[in-house]
């Protein structure tokens, strides 16, 4: 963050280099998913080691990264899963973090890995909801310690898009995130579109959530757009950001004293639908937001 202003950027995907080339001044930060920069061959019997890097993608990213800030955005470590952390993956993430100079690293407050998968790196198929209990907190705390030591940078966790919240948990999600920050110094990647998903599907009230969340936790914001399918709204990263999301960013953003980056997420398969012009305009709006948040007096949280 320069003089209190958050960086504006994109979640990395194969379309990002063309956007950076077209509008270099608008992309200051790139969120990098390390899992998309390797091929995981665990138990495939190749005899060539588990992780094979996608050399072309990494070289292209390094070119894009010139003069920009990079952060890591992992999806494979599944910190809330009640299974040991994948140390080989931690080592590979740490290696990439060093090579690409991640300024911080985020993971998801969602469960992706299952204990009895048919392959060790098998995934549940989507991010599943977490029970916000003390037991889960202790599991995450232990893994955060490992991750922080391996990467040597701040670790933040992202709120997920949840269709079936775990009922009757000991803490609400904001309370859980607040505790992670208060006790472990683990900040929050606040995905405002995931809150919008909750609102559209009737599972949460974003204003109530944001009033409860300690704003000092928030180090990064994600915005995105989604689609409706069979009566539910998804975080498909397929459209521009809805108006409600922008409204929450402007309403609650002034409280986020530690905000470092504002990131737009889109999946490359929707690049044609969004259009280069559409994404450029989104980035321009994000710069307007970043300017507005850095210009306003910091508001105190009264939640």
């Amino acid at each position: 963050m320069r003089g209190g202003r958050a960086f504006v950027g994109l979640l990395n995907n194969p379309a990002v280099p063309s956007i950076v080339k077209h509008a270099p001044d608008l992309v200051e930060y790139i969120d990098v998913i390390p899992d998309r920069l390797w091929y995981d061959f665990e138990f495939a019997g190749t005899g060539n080691g588990r992780f094979r890097r996608a050399i072309g993608a990494i070289e292209e990213l390094k070119e894009c990264a010139e003069g920009r800030v990079l952060g890591g955005h992992g999806i494979g470590l599944s910190l809330p899963s009640a299974i040991p952390i994948d140390m080989a993956m931690v080592d590979e993430v740490a290696s990439l973090a060093k090579d690409l100079d991640f300024q911080w690293f985020s993971e998801h407050l969602s469960m992706f890995l299952v204990a009895h998968g048919s392959v060790p790196n098998s995934q549940a198929g989507l991010g599943l909801p977490v029970a916000y209990d003390d037991e889960t907190f202790r599991i995450i705390a232990a893994k955060l310690d490992i991750l922080r030591r391996a990467l040597g940078c701040d670790i933040i966790l992202e709120n997920g898009a949840v269709f079936t919240p775990v009922p009757d948990t000991e803490m609400t999600e904001p309370e859980f995130l607040n505790r992670l920050y208060a006790e472990l110094g683990c900040g929050t990647l606040l995905d405002l579109h995931n809150l919008y998903v909750g609102q559209r599907n009737g599972t949460l009230s974003p204003p109530e959530y944001l009033e409860q969340l300690n704003p000092d936790c928030v180090k990064e914001i994600h915005i995105a757009g989604g689609d409706e399918l069979a009566g539910f709204y998804m975080d498909s990263h397929s459209r521009l950001t809805p108006d409600d999301v922008w409204a929450w960013a402007y309403r609650f953003g002034p409280r986020f004293r530690n905000l470092r980056a504002i990131v737009f997420e889109f999946h490359e398969s929707y690049f044609e639908r969004l259009g280069l012009a559409g994404i450029v305009r989104e980035l321009e709006r994000m710069h307007e937001l970043a300017d507005a948040l850095s210009a306003r007096p910091q508001q105190r949280h009264v939640g």
């Binding site: 998309r36 091929y39 996608a54 050399i55 098998s122 995934q123 029970a131 269709f163 599972t203």
Partner: protein
């Protein structure tokens, strides 16, 4: 146990049939998984929540996604047969492999096994399948070398 609760949740999301069985007879969750009373109550509530259907749909869409991305013409040519084949494949292989070329290769070998068991595909569909499976094998081989391609072939979750 939390690990059992998490496994049960993942298994339910992966199988609409398991969800139906759990709704009809929730006690079988206790027989299959080592759950605390709180975990059992939570699972029963979640499987009866309207959002569970959305979890199942998204799970299925995420399983389909790498196949559609990397075997687009074959998926198109299969038409209405894709759904039942995907269901059978997902039952046999409940967890997706994050290496999507491995996942696609595994699906292709599943199709090969079906063909050897007498499953019929029209000659033009078979030709498309063989061509795209060859591409998958080449892409997979490339990822094992320093000539690894870019991010193509891996969709984000």
């Amino acid at each position: 146990m939390l690990v059992e609760f998490q496994q049960a949740l993942a298994d339910l999301v992966a199988s609409p049939e398991a969800c139906r069985r759990a709704r009809a007879n929730p006690e079988q969750l206790r027989l299959r998984y080592d759950l605390s009373p709180r975990e059992y109550d939570r699972l029963v509530a979640m499987v009866n929540h309207k959002g569970m259907a959305w979890n199942c749909m998204l799970y299925r869409a995420n399983r389909l996604s790498p196949l559609v991305l990397n075997l687009p013409e074959f998926c198109r040519a299969l038409g209405p047969r894709l759904g039942p084949l995907l269901s059978e494949y997902s039952e046999r292989h409940p967890n997706t492999n994050v290496h999507f070329y491995l996942e696609c290769d595994r699906f292709c070998r599943f199709i090969e096994a079906k063909l050897s068991e007498g499953y019929c595909l029209e000659p033009d569909v078979l030709a498309v399948f063989r061509a795209e499976h060859t591409n998958i094998k080449l892409s997979l081989a490339a990822t094992q070398t320093t000539l690894a391609p870019s991010l193509a072939g891996r969709a984000a979750l």
